[in-house]
C-alpha cells in the first residue's frame, strides 16, 4: 500500500483480496466490536438520544438550506476577528492556496492536526512536491505516515495495524523523520505512546506553522472547533505562529448554541466517551496568545454539487464520527482501503461517488458495497439514511440521469459494463409483469429440475462457489393454489357435493 488512492481497483476486487487477509480481519473485528459495544453503552446513557439525533439532523439541514447565507456570515465574523478567509473550489485550488501561505512564512516544515479534509485533497503530497514537509501529530496518523501507508478508518486511521506492526514501523522509520525510537522499544501501548510523545514533542516545539481542519465552524462568531483525545491538536493550534485551517463548507453551524447538540452527539458516537478529552475553540487571532496569523481555507470540492441533489445531500450532515464504519459488516470484512478514499465504510460509499462523481470504476462500484442491512442508518447520530442514498446512487450508475458536476446541471449516461445486467433486469421486469409467461417458465424449470446443475458456470459462480443452489420444487405455489383451491378445484368440490346428495 503506497500513499496514494490513485488507480485503486473497484471495490469488489479490492475487497476480495482483503477478506483473505486473516490478520487484517482479526485486527478489524476486534477493534470494531470493541468500539461498537462501547458506543452502544454510551448512547444508552442518554434518555433523549433520539431527540438529540433529530435535532442534529434538523440543525444541519437548516444550515445546508441556507449555506450561502451562513458562509458569508462566517467569513465576516472570521475576518472581523483578525483571520483571513480563502475560498477553494476544488482540491487543486485548496492545495495551491495552502502551499502559497506556507511559502509566504518562509518555513519548510509544518505540524498537522488530524484532518479529513486535508486527507481528501491530498495536501501532504502537494506540500511535499513544493519541498514542504508535513508532520502528522495524531498518533494513528503518525503510524500511517511513518509506514508510508493509507488511513483505513476515519477515527482510527491505523485500525488495520496491531501493536507489533506499530513497533516495527516505529523502529524502522522514526529516525528518518526526527527523533528515533528508544532502544529496546517493546510493543506495550504505554511504551509505544511514549515513543510517539518524545518523537512529536520535538516537532511541536520547533514548528512555526500548524495546519488543521475543524469539526465545526460557528457562523455567528467565526469560531472554529476541534475535538480530540490526545492533546496533539491543542499543541498544533496554540504553539505555532501561523495556523492554517482547511475546512469543508458543510462543517458550518449557525450558532454556539448548536454546539450543545453536536458536542453530545459526536463524542458518544465516535469514541464512546461522554466528552472528548480536548475541545479547542478559537476565534480569529488574539494579541499575545496563540497563533498571530490565522487563515481559513473554505473547501468545496464537490460539496455544492452534492447539495444540489435532494436525496444525496443528506450525506453533508456527516460529522465524521465513524459510528457507521464500526457497525458495518462489509467494512469489518473488506477493510478501509478497499473504499479507495479517506472516507471508508458506509459514509464513504455515499460520499466519495458524490464528491468525485461516478465516472470512475471505483466510484461506480462503491454504491454496491453494501448489503443494505441498515445498521449504519440506525447508529448515525445525524440520521443519514445511508441505504436510501446508496440505492439512489445505484440508479445514477446504471440508469444515468440529471446530476450537477462543477456547478453545471448535466444529464449522465448510464455507466458502461452494466448492459447484461440491464437486459436481465428488463427481462425479469417483463416476466414479472406477464404472469402467464412467468408461470410457463416456472413450470419448465420444475419439469427440468432433475437436469439442473449443482454449480453454475460464468457469472453464476459468484453464487455457487460458496453456496448450494436452491432446488426447484415440483410445483409452484401458484400451481398448488390453482390445483387445490382454484376455480377448477372448487367446481370439482361442488360437483362432488352434488353427486353425494
Amino acid at each position: 500500500m503506497s500513499g496514494t488512492y490513485l488507480g485503486m481497483p473497484a471495490f469488489p476486487r479490492a475487497a476480495a483480496a482483503s477478506t483473505r487477509d486473516t490478520r487484517l480481519r482479526a485486527n478489524l473485528t476486534h477493534a470494531t466490536h470493541t468500539i461498537r459495544d462501547k458506543r452502544a453503552r454510551a448512547v444508552a446513557e442518554l434518555d433523549d438520544w433520539a431527540r438529540l439525533r433529530a435535532a442534529g439532523a434538523a440543525i444541519k439541514d437548516r444550515m445546508l438550506r441556507h449555506l450561502d447565507h451562513y458562509l458569508e456570515r462566517l467569513e465576516t465574523a472570521v475576518t472581523e476577528a483578525g483571520g483571513q478567509v480563502h475560498w477553494a473550489a476544488d482540491a487543486d485550488e485548496a492545495n495551491r492556496i495552502v502551499t502559497r501561505l506556507v511559502r509566504e512564512t518562509g518555513e519548510t516544515e509544518v505540524v498537522k492536526v488530524k484532518s479529513m479534509a486535508t486527507q481528501e485533497i491530498g495536501l501532504n503530497e502537494a506540500l511535499a512536491e513544493a519541498g514542504i514537509r508535513a508532520y502528522e501529530t495524531d498518533l494513528a496518523e503518525l503510524i500511517v505516515q511513518l509506514g508510508n501507508d493509507l488511513p483505513s478508518h476515519i477515527l482510527v486511521p491505523a485500525i488495520h495495524r496491531n501493536r507489533s506492526e506499530i513497533r516495527a514501523i516505529f523502529r524502522r522509520e522514526m529516525a528518518s523523520w526526527g527523533r528515533p525510537a528508544p532502544e529496546g522499544l517493546s510493543d506495550s501501548p504505554a511504551e509505544l505512546a511514549e515513543a510517539a510523545r518524545l518523537h512529536l514533542r520535538e516537532k511541536f516545539l520547533t514548528a512555526k506553522v500548524g495546519i488543521s481542519g475543524a469539526n465545526f465552524m460557528v457562523a455567528d462568531t467565526g469560531t472554529l472547533v476541534v475535538v480530540e483525545s490526545e492533546g496533539n491538536g491543542r499543541m498544533c493550534l496554540t504553539l505555532p505562529e501561523t495556523l492554517i485551517s482547511v475546512v469543508g463548507i458543510e462543517k458550518t453551524v449557525p450558532t454556539w448554541q448548536d454546539l450543545e447538540v453536536f458536542l453530545q452527539l459526536l463524542p458518544r458516537s465516535s469514541t464512546a466517551e461522554r466528552m472528548n478529552p480536548y475541545t479547542s475553540t478559537w476565534t480569529g487571532t488574539t494579541d499575545g496568545d496563540g497563533p498571530q496569523t490565522f487563515h481559513l481555507v473554505l473547501l468545496d470540492n464537490g460539496r455544492t454539487d452534492t447539495l444540489a441533489d435532494t436525496v444525496g445531500r443528506q450525506a453533508l450532515r456527516c460529522i465524521r464520527c465513524s459510528a457507521c464504519l464500526n457497525v458495518c459488516p462489509v467494512y469489518e470484512r473488506a477493510g478501509g482501503h478497499a473504499y479507495g478514499s479517506p472516507y471508508p465504510g458506509p459514509i464513504g460509499a455515499i460520499l466519495t461517488p458524490q464528491l468525485r462523481g461516478t465516472a470512475g470504476k471505483l466510484e461506480a462500484s462503491l454504491p454496491y458495497a453494501s448489503s443494505l442491512c441498515g445498521a449504519c442508518y440506525e447508529v448515525c447520530p445525524v440520521a443519514i439514511d445511508i441505504p436510501e442514498v446508496l440505492v439512489h446512487l445505484r440508479e445514477r450508475v446504471v440508469e444515468g440521469g440529471p446530476v450537477t458536476r462543477g456547478g453545471v446541471r448535466t444529464v449522465l449516461k448510464p455507466a458502461r459494463g452494466h448492459a447484461a445486467e440491464r437486459a436481465a433486469m428488463r427481462a425479469a421486469g417483463w416476466a414479472f409483469d406477464h404472469p402467464g409467461a412467468l408461470r410457463a417458465g416456472m413450470r419448465l424449470a420444475a419439469r427440468t429440475r432433475r437436469l439442473h446443475p449443482r454449480r453454475l458456470p460464468g457469472p453464476g459462480r459468484a453464487w455457487s462457489d460458496t453456496r448450494e443452489l436452491p432446488a426447484v420444487p415440483a410445483e409452484s405455489f401458484r400451481d398448488w393454489w390453482q390445483r387445490t383451491r382454484g376455480e377448477e378445484a372448487r367446481d370439482e368440490a361442488a360437483r362432488g357435493e352434488g353427486s353425494a346428495k
Partner: protein, 271 residues
Amino acid sequence: MRVALFVTCINDALQPRTGQAVVGLLERLGVQVDFPAEQSCCGQPQFNTGYRQATEPLVRRFHRAFRDYEYVVTPSGSCAAMVRDNYPRIGAKAASEGRGRDLQQIAAAAVPKTYELTEFLVDVLKVTDVGAYYPHVVTYHPTCHGLRMLGLGDRPRRLLENVRGLELRELPGAEECCGFGGTFAVKNPAVSAAMGADKVRAVIGTGAEAVCTVDNSCLLHIGGTLARQGAPVRPVHIAEILASTEASTEGPEVPTEGPDAGTVGTEGSLR
C-alpha cells in the same frame, strides 16, 4: 376476516411450502385467505439494484392485485419493507419527474394495509400463541429489513416462545446481516460469502437443528452456505414452524421431494 396473501416471487417459485404454511396457519386461526393470481414480484431486486423505473409496472401490478383487500399479508420482511418504505419513494420520485401522482396514490393505499406475517398475527389478530407444535431446537436470525426497516422487534420471538415443544437457542451476533443483500451476494461475492460463513458458524455453534427467519431470501443464502458445508442445520421459515401442529407433523400435506425436501410437514418425522 378475509385477507389477501402476497406470497412473493421467491416463495412462489422456490419455496411454495412457506406459502402453503401461511394459508394453513391463517385458516386455522379463522381467517379466510385469498390468493389474487395477478400478483407477482414486489420489484425489490430491480429497485435495490438501481432500476427504479423498471419497478413501476410492478408497483401498479401490486395495486391491481390487492386494491380490493383490507389486509395484505406476506411471509417476507424485506418484501413488506419494499412496499412500505420504497413504494412511497417511487411514487414521490415519479411525481417529482412530472409523471403524475397516481403512483403516489397507489403507494399511499398500499402502505397501511401491507403486513409482514408476524406483524399481522401479533398486531391485527392479537395472538402470540397460534397453537403450534414443533418439537425441535431452533435458533432465530432476525433479518435486517424485518429488524430495522419494519421494526418487528420481539414479535417473531414471542410467537416462537409459545410454540409447544420448541426450544429456542440464542444466536450470538444475531443482529448482524447474513450477507445476502439481494444482488450484493453476486456483486460482492467475497464479502457476502465471508459474512455468510460467520453467520453460519454462529448458527452451528448454537447446536440448533434449524435456523429460522421471517425471510426465505436470506435463508437461500444461509441454507445454501450450510448445505455446501454439509452442516446438519435446516433453514426453515417461521411460517412453517407456526403452521406445524401435532396433527400436521404426522405426515406432509404436499408431496415434498428433491434434495432440499423437508421443512413443513416432514419436520415431525425427523424426530
